[in-house]
Amino acid sequence: MLHVELVLQGLVNGSMYAVVAIGLTLIYGLLRILHVAHAGLYTLGAYITVLTTNATGSLALGILAAMLVVGLCGMLVYRLLYEPMLERPPYVALIASIGLFICMEESYRIVFGPYGSSFDMPRLGERIALGPISIAAADAAMLVGAIVLLTGLAMLMRRTRFGVAWRATVTDPAMARSFGIDTIKVRYVNFFIASVFAAAAGSLVAVLNNLVEPTMGSVPSYKSLAIIVLGGLGQVGGTLAAALLLGVIEAYGTIYAGAYLDRDAIAFIFLIVVLMIRPQGLFARGS
């Protein structure tokens, strides 16, 4: 039963990583920006969810408000920070993004206080029995939420005009423009959607832990960089696989390697090894 629980716990964590990292991979795929501040938007989403829910009593309204506000913030970050840097070497945007992320974390600490906030209502404490295994309702909500979000993204990418425009712009921006695709608009929508995912991940984690803290973005921020590299940079499917795999490996690592290595370092060992052996990423197609 230990293995079932470890895998399940890994999948719950992995699905959280996946929802955060998908947004990062969308941004990297389009603009080659390693957007660390994404995790700052994720924290913002979690705070807006908790505060709005406590004010209005409706979790749905909280999540909706978080997605909308954070989506707009994401577009603002692109407009004010990244757009003027697109012509500069890629590490410039990365370092600026780290600076922005630190500013965001510190601002949350100042504005919302260092101790974190919780929902007024009780935690989703009950467990759901699925035959011989049981799963906490909050964990189940995380898994289901992630599946709904990622399916939604897949539909958006395959079935809508935006999806076509996005894929065309990633493949060949010049060609896309000559076919009348507004590539500037694609970038803004891209940041909006990626940030909506960050907010959704924040909401889900807020429900999962019933706690939001100023520093809750620290672990996902840098770890999701590792995930998108492992997933083959800009590959949505690869990112998903890498996130879930990492979740499960971490769950096992905590049990079997916890005496030698901190859990949060596991992702970076993989990152370094993979970058040395296969710089194009674990799940990248060809080279």
């Binding site: 840097m85 590490y91 510190e106 960089l225 901190d262 859990r263 370094i272 970058l275």
Partner: protein, 284 residues
């Protein structure tokens, strides 16, 4: 000078040493490193073990530097494989793995750190003089490298790797040299830190330390010797002068990184150069 001022001089010295080391790697040679605290930490832990075993101070300083440089050489090899933003996240990964590893090592004191570090035996003034002497030596080495053939090679690699290679410059060798020298300086700074605090914990060498050092290099002006020194001194002292700034130290560092990257990519040095150019133009 009172005890407080002496402490300040020591802290400033250590930060200037770290910034000078990173400036060699990121400034002179253009290899972005987000894991400088790992080399600082490696030097500190090696020095702490050596000092506790009874070795004299000069040996401990060199041992700290050499141990860090060995790790620096290893990490330097990754810079031959990945570049720019990928090198940045690889070195960041090295930083996280270093802390994650040390946290769990009983022989390194794990979370509790190492405490049984003997006194340096130089007296307060002697220790400060040693710090200042080391800073002066490192600044002199940096200035010398910048003017030498080594610095020329670094600049060529930083400017355009492909062109440097076509010109017959041995790019891998220069990158490794930058990493070895820069991390050696970080290791020596680590050893000084050990004698200064006589107590080290893994948390003292985390990612925020790497970012603080990086912000000194960036705000000073990547590659500019005096700019980096001025920025390291200012960014270390500012939080000391005001309680308010101290409470928001990280916010200040983060904001400075964002603003420098966005509006003044050449940092203080770039601002001063363009100002003096404008002044000269208005004179003529």
């Amino acid at each position: 000078m009172g005890a407080y001022e002496l402490t300040l001089v020591a802290v400033v010295s250590i930060n200037v040493m770290l910034a000078l080391g990173l400036n060699l790697i990121t400034g002179f040679c253009g290899q972005v490193s987000l894991g400088h605290a790992a080399f600082f930490g490696t030097g500190a832990y090696a020095a702490a073990l050596m000092a506790a075993a009874g070795w004299p101070l000069p040996v401990v300083l060199v041992a700290g530097g050499v141990t860090a440089a060995v790790l620096g050489l290893l990490v330097g090899f990754t810079s031959l494989r990945v570049r720019e933003d990928f090198l940045a996240i690889t070195t960041m990964g090295v930083g996280f793995v270093f802390v994650g590893f040390v946290r769990k090592q009983g022989w390194l004191g794990a979370e509790m750190g190492l405490t049984n570090i003997p006194d340096h035996g130089l007296g307060d003034i002697g220790f400060i003089l040693m710090c200042l002497g080391l800073v002066a030596a490192m600044a002199a080495i940096s200035a010398h490298i910048k003017r030498s053939w080594l610095g020329f090679g670094f600049a060529a690699v930083a400017d355009d790797e492909a062109t440097a290679r076509t010109l017959g410059i041995n790019v891998p060798l220069y990158k490794l040299a930058a990493f070895v020298i820069g991390t050696f300086l970080a290791g020596v700074a680590g050893a000084v830190y050990v004698y200064f605090t006589r107590f080290i914990i893994p948390g003292a060498f985390g990612f925020t330390v790497s970012i603080s050092i990086l912000s000194m290099v960036i705000v000073g002006g990547v590659g500019s010797l005096w700019g980096v020194i001025v920025a390291a001194v200012l960014l270390t002292l500012l939080p000391e002068f005001s309680r308010v700034i101290n409470d928001y130290k990280l916010l200040l560092y983060g904001a400075l990184i964002v603003l420098t990257m966005r509006f003044a990519p050449d940092g203080l040095a770039g601002i001063v150069t363009s100002l003096s150019r404008r002044l000269r133009r208005s004179e003529t």
